[in-house]
C-alpha cells in the first residue's frame, strides 16, 4: 500500500528580550547557575508575575510577518505539572486565547511553492534546567533560564514530507532572524522543533494515529528523524500492527526514535486562566506601530533581488536566506559593485571561507566596500582574476583593503606589452617542440604556453595581453 505522511510542527523560539518574561532578570546565556534569578522566577511564596511588553511585541511582530490574525484580547493560562526545573509547579503559557492565530508561510520544495498553515502563535515562559552530572545521587537545578520568554508556533498538519518539514523550519528560522526576535540557534536550543507525525493510505481523508517526536536539534536531524519515524510507522502497518499514540525521542547518535511516554502517561495539565495576570489588550494603533518595525522579509527580498538585480533564482535564494547576508550584498551593490560579480564572490569564495570557519557573515572582518574595491581592481585590469582570489583570501584573513594587499605583495598586473613580450619570447624559445606541435594544429597547447608565462610572472601578467601576444607569435605573423 502507498502511504503518505501527515506532519505538523511545534516550534519553540526563545525571544531576544533583555529581561525575562515575568520579572526583570537578565536572559543572558551561559552565566553561573542561579545567578540570574530573583524571588519571582524562583517561585517564592507571595510573588507575582508582570508581563514583559517587549516579548508581547515580538510575538505580534512575528504574527504579522507570517500573516496571522492578531487577537485584540488574549490571556495567559497556567499549565500545571510538577518538575524540579519548574519552580512554581506550573508554567505560565497561553491556552484558549493565544496572541496570534491563522497564519501562513510559503516554502519552496523541488521548485514549487507550497503554503503551510499556522494554527497559532503564543507566548510562554521557559523552564530551568536539571543538571545530573557531578551531582552524585542528587540532581542540581539551574533556574537561570526559568522565565525566559518563549514563543510557540504551531502549524496545521499541512506538511507531507521530512524535506518539507526541514524547509519550513529553515524558512521560519530565517523569518525570526530577519525580525530580530530570535537568534535561531538550534544547537543551543534557542530554536527547538517538535513534530506530530502520522501516516495514512494515499487518498484517505481520515488521519492516522500520531506520534510526537522531540529532540531534533538541527535541520539535518529533522529530516532524518522524520524519515525514520515515517518508515517505522509504515513498517508497523505493513506488518498488520497498530501505531501507539505516544511521545518519542530522537536519538541522533543511534539514528532512531524511541518511546518516551505513552498517551496514558501524558499529563493532565489542568490549564486555566492565570488570575495573577490581566488580559493582554492589543489595539490597532499598537499593531500598526509594530508593523512599521518589520523589515523586508526573505520572500519579497528574494523576488526583488531577481527583478531588480537580475540575479538567478539560486543566487537570490541563498543571498536572502540570512538578513545579514542580504544586507551585505545590497551594501556592496550600493557602493558600485556589479550585482552578479558581488553575488559570485559571495556565493563562491566568501561562503566557502565562512563555512570553513563555521562563521556568520556578521562575524567576519571583511566589509562590503572591500569586496567592491577588489572587483574594481579586476575591472580596471590592475590584477587578474586569478590573483584576485589570493587577494580575497588575504583580505578575508587580515581585513586589509585590496589595493593595500596588492601593493604590499607586489601583485599588480603587468600590462606593459613590451615587458610581457620579453617573457613570451623567452618561453617560446625554451619550448621549440611544443611550438612545432602547435603550428601543426595542436591548438590546446596555447594553454600550456599561457601557464608557463603566468608561472614565470608569478601570475601577474595580464592574461588578455598574454593571449594576444601568444597568438600573434605562434601564428608567425611577427
Amino acid at each position: 500500500m502507498q502511504y503518505e505522511a501527515v506532519i505538523g510542527l511545534e516550534i519553540h523560539a526563545q525571544l531576544l528580550t533583555e529581561s525575562k518574561m515575568f520579572c526583570g532578570c537578565s536572559t543572558k546565556f551561559g552565566s553561573e547557575p542561579n545567578t540570574q534569578t530573583c524571588p519571582v522566577c524562583i517561585g517564592m511564596p507571595g510573588v507575582l508575575p508582570v508581563a514583559n511588553k517587549r516579548a508581547i511585541e515580538c510575538v505580534i511582530k512575528t504574527g504579522l510577518a507570517v500573516n496571522c490574525k492578531i487577537a485584540p484580547f488574549s490571556r495567559f493560562a497556567r499549565k500545571n505539572y510538577f518538575y524540579p526545573d519548574l519552580p512554581k509547579g506550573y508554567q505560565i503559557s497561553q491556552y484558549e486565547l493565544p496572541i496570534c492565530e491563522h497564519g501562513l508561510v510559503e516554502i519552496i520544495v523541488n521548485g514549487s511553492t507550497k503554503k503551510i498553515g499556522l494554527t497559532r502563535i503564543h507566548l510562554e515562559e521557559d523552564a530551568g534546567k536539571n543538571i545530573h552530572e557531578g551531582a552524585g545521587d542528587y540532581s542540581f537545578v539551574d533556574l537561570n533560564r526559568a522565565g525566559t520568554p518563549l514563543m510557540e508556533i504551531v502549524t496545521e498538519p499541512d506538511i507531507r514530507s521530512p524535506q518539507e518539514a526541514a524547509e519550513f523550519v529553515k524558512k521560519l528560522r530565517a523569518i525570526v532572524r530577519y525580525l530580530g526576535v530570535c537568534d535561531g540557534n538550534m544547537e543551543q536550543g534557542s530554536l527547538r522543533c517538535d513534530a506530530n507525525v502520522s501516516i495514512r493510505p494515499v487518498g484517505q481523508e481520515e488521519l492516522g494515529t500520531k506520534t510526537e517526536i522531540k529532540n531534533m536539534n538541527s535541520f539535518k536531524f529533522i529530516e532524518k528523524a522524520l524519515d525514520y519515524e515515517i518508515k517505522r510507522q509504515i513498517k508497523i502497518l505493513n506488518e498488520g500492527g497498530r501505531i501507539v499514540q505516544e511521545t518519542r525521542l530522537w536519538h541522533s547518535n543511534r539514528g532512531i526514535t524511541e518511546s518516551m511516554r505513552s498517551k496514558e502517561e501524558a499529563h493532565d495539565y489542568r490549564y486555566f486562566p492565570d488570575p495573577d495576570l490581566v488580559p493582554v489588550d492589543v489595539d490597532n494603533a499598537w499593531i500598526e506601530q509594530i508593523r512599521l518595525q518589520i523589515v523586508e522579509l526573505p520572500d519579497s527580498r528574494r523576488q526583488r533581488f531577481i527583478t531588480q538585480y537580475g540575479l538567478p533564482e539560486q543566487d537570490a535564494d541563498l543571498l536572502t536566506s540570512e538578513r545579514a547576508m542580504a544586507e551585505w550584498f545590497e551594501e556592496a551593490v550600493k557602493l558600485g559593485g556589479d550585482p552578479k560579480s558581488v553575488s559570485n564572490w559571495m556565493m563562491g569564495e566568501l561562503m566557502k571561507m565562512l563555512n570553513e570557519e563555521n562563521k556568520l557573515i556578521e562575524e567576519c572582518a571583511l566589509k562590503p566596500e572591500q569586496l567592491v574595491g577588489l572587483i574594481k581592481l579586476i575591472d580596471k585590469g590592475v590584477i587578474s582574476g586569478k590573483i584576485a582570489k589570493t587577494v580575497f583570501e588575504e583580505m578575508y584573513k587580515t581585513g586589509k583593503d585590496a589595493d593595500r594587499i596588492v601593493k604590499e605583495k607586489g601583485l599588480v598586473q603587468v600590462s606593459d606589452e613590451s615587458e610581457i613580450e620579453k617573457v613570451v619570447d623567452d618561453i617560446l624559445q625554451k619550448n621549440p617542440k611544443e611550438m612545432e606541435r602547435f603550428r601543426a594544429g595542436e591548438e590546446k597547447l596555447l594553454g600550456f604556453f599561457a601557464g608557463q608565462i603566468m608561472k614565470a610572472t608569478k601570475g601577474k601578467a595580464n592574461p588578455k595581453i598574454v593571449n594576444e601576444l601568444l597568438r600573434k607569435k605562434l601564428s608567425g605573423t611577427s
Binding site: M44, P45, G46, V50, K88, G89, V141, R270
Partner: protein, 484 residues
C-alpha cells in the same frame, strides 16, 4: 487608660504631644502580650528585639521632626504576608522555617512609615479556614470567650486587636477572612476592593479573591491604615492604577438621604436570632441617622458558597504546587523524585489544605473543567451583576457579617461543610470584588460580639467608611473590651 488599649488615632496624638514615646508604647504592648498571649495564642512569631529597634528609630525621626503618619505605631501582621528576614509560615509545617528574602509591598510601605512590626499572627493554614483552628502551630482563641474560636482565617490578627496585643493589625480576606473574625472578636475589619491594595508578597491562596486589609479598634483607624497600604504597585498587575483618596476625609460626613440596600436573601432561616436582632437594630439606628433602608434582592446569593469553593480551590491547587520540597521550605526524605514530592506534601500540609488541593485539582481536570470551573466562572459573573444592579439603586448594602456569633472551639472541625457556611454572608463580596467592612453592632446574651457588614461599590471605600463611622459614633459597641 492603659497604653496598650489606645487606638491608632489616640496613640498618634499622644506621641505627637510628646506624652508617650514609641518605645514606651511598644514596651506596653509587649507587656500586654506577656500577660494575655498564653490564653489567646494570637502570634506565631514575636519580634520584640527588632520592634524596640524600630521604636527607637521612630523616636529618632520624631526628634528630627520627620513627620510620619503612622510613625511608632505597633502593628501585627498576618503570617501569610512576607516580611524580609522574619519567618513567614502561613501557619504551615511546609513553611515552618521559611524566611523570605524580600518584603511584601505593604510591609515595605509600613516600614517606610516607621511602623513597628511586632510579630506575625496565627491563621488557618494558608488562610484556609474560618476558625484559626487549622493551624500547624496551635489554635487561637476568642478574647471574649476563650472556649470559642476567634473566626478565621485572620483569627490571630483579630484576636490580637481585640485583646489589645497590638494597636492594629493586617489580615487577608479571600472569602471573609478579615470580616468574619472581626465580627467574632468585636473589632473593625475591612476588605478593600480587589485591586486597591497590592498583593505582592501576600502568599497566594486564591489569587482572584485575595485582598489584604486592616483590622482595627475603630473605623477611623481603618481609614488611616487603608491610606497607607492602598495604591497601584508595578509588581502586581492586578492592582488598580487609580488615585487613592484620603479615606479619613470621608469620615464624619453625615449620611442623610443615603440609600441602604437590605438584601432579603441575607435574612434567612437558620440565622441566629440574636444576630438578626442586632443587625435589624443597627439598620434602624442608621435610619434614625437619616439613611433610607430599601429592600433589595441579590438573587444568586444561594450559589455563592458553591461557586467560591470551586474557584478558590481550583486556584489554590495551582498556587500551592510550588511547595514541592525542591527550593525552600520542608523537604521530606524520599526514594526518588516522585516519592520526595509525595512525602513532602503529605508531611507539610494539614488536612484542610489537602482537601482543598484535591478538590481544586479535580475541578480543573480534563473532562470536569467545563462542568465545574467554567460554570463557576459564569456564576461568578452573575453574582457580580447582582451587585452592579443593586448599586444602581442603593449607595451601600448592609447585612449581618456572619449567621451566628463565635462558635465553640472544636464544634465544626469535623464538619467542613458547616465550617464553610460560616462565610455564607461574606463570600459574595469577594466573588464580586467589591469592598466590605464588618463593624461591631451588638452583643448576644452570652456577651459575644455581633458584626454588621457594610458593602460598597467598586473602589468606593469612602462611602462605606462614612456609613460605618456614622454608625460607630452613634453607638458604643466598639468601646467595649473583653475581660482577660
Amino acid at each position: 487608660m492603659e497604653l496598650y488599649s489606645l487606638s491608632i488615632e489616640e496613640a498618634l496624638t499622644a506621641i505627637d504631644k510628646g506624652e508617650i514615646s514609641p518605645v514606651e508604647l511598644t514596651e506596653a504592648i509587649f507587656k500586654r502580650i506577656e500577660a494575655v498571649e498564653d490564653k489567646i495564642h494570637s502570634f506565631v512569631t514575636l519580634d520584640k528585639e527588632n520592634s524596640l529597634i524600630q521604636a527607637r528609630s521612630a523616636e529618632d525621626n520624631i526628634r528630627r521632626n520627620i513627620k510620619q503618619p503612622l510613625g511608632g505605631i505597633p502593628i501585627a501582621i498576618k503570617d501569610n504576608i512576607c516580611t524580609e528576614g522574619v519567618r513567614t509560615t502561613c501557619s504551615s509545617k511546609m513553611l515552618e522555617n521559611f524566611i523570605p528574602p524580600y518584603d511584601s509591598t505593604i510591609v515595605k510601605k509600613l516600614k517606610e512609615q516607621r511602623c513597628i512590626l511586632i510579630g506575625k499572627t496565627n491563621l488557618d493554614e494558608f488562610a484556609m479556614g474560618s476558625s484559626t483552628e487549622n493551624s500547624s502551630f496551635g489554635s487561637t482563641r476568642n478574647p471574649w470567650d476563650v472556649a470559642r474560636v476567634p473566626g478565621g482565617s485572620s483569627g490571630g490578627s483579630a484576636a490580637a486587636v481585640a485583646a489589645d496585643m497590638c494597636i492594629a493589625a493586617l489580615g487577608s480576606d479571600t472569602g471573609g477572612s478579615i470580616r468574619q473574625p472581626a465580627a467574632f472578636c468585636g473589632v473593625v475589619g475591612l476588605k478593600p476592593t480587589y485591586g486597591r491594595v497590592s498583593r505582592y508578597g501576600l502568599v497566594a491562596f486564591a489569587s482572584s479573591l485575595d485582598q489584604i486589609g486592616p483590622i482595627t479598634k475603630n473605623v477611623k483607624d481603618s481609614a488611616i491604615l487603608l491610606n497607607i497600604i492602598s495604591g497601584y504597585d508595578l509588581r502586581d498587575s492586578t492592582s488598580a492604577d487609580l488615585t487613592v483618596p484620603d479615606f479619613t476625609s470621608a469620615i464624619g460626613q453625615d449620611i442623610k438621604g443615603m440609600k441602604l440596600g437590605v438584601p432579603k436573601e441575607y435574612f434567612i432561616k437558620g440565622i441566629d436570632k440574636e444576630v438578626a436582632e442586632s443587625v435589624n437594630a443597627a439598620i434602624n439606628k442608621l435610619e434614625s441617622l437619616g439613611a433610607i433602608p430599601l429592600e433589595i434582592s441579590l438573587p444568586h446569593t444561594g450559589y455563592a458558597v458553591a461557586t467560591y469553593y470551586i474557584l478558590a480551590t481550583s486556584e489554590a491547587s495551582s498556587n500551592l504546587a510550588r511547595y514541592d520540597g525542591v527550593k525552600y521550605g520542608l523537604r521530606a526524605a524520599g526514594g526518588d523524585l516522585i516519592d520526595m514530592y509525595m512525602k513532602t506534601r503529605e508531611a507539610g500540609f494539614g488536612a484542610e489544605v489537602k482537601r482543598r488541593i484535591i478538590l481544586g485539582t479535580y475541578t480543573l481536570s480534563s473532562g470536569y473543567y467545563d462542568a465545574y470551573y467554567k460554570k463557576a466562572q459564569q456564576v461568578r459573573t452573575l453574582v457580580k451583576q447582582d451587585f452592579e444592579k443593586a448599586f444602581e439603586k442603593v449607595d451601600v448594602i448592609v447585612t449581618p457579617t456572619t449567621p451566628s456569633p463565635a462558635f465553640k472551639a472544636g464544634e465544626k472541625t469535623d464538619d467542613p461543610l458547616q465550617m464553610y457556611l460560616a462565610d455564607i454572608f461574606t463570600i459574595s463580596v469577594n466573588l464580586a470584588g467589591v469592598p466590605g467592612i464588618s463593624i461591631p453592632c451588638g452583643f448576644t446574651s452570652q456577651n459575644l460580639p455581633v458584626g454588621l457588614q457594610i458593602i460598597g461599590k467598586h473602589f468606593d471605600e469612602e462611602t462605606l467608611l462614612k456609613t460605618a463611622y456614622a454608625y460607630e459614633q452613634a453607638t458604643d459597641w466598639h468601646k467595649r473590651k473583653p475581660k482577660l
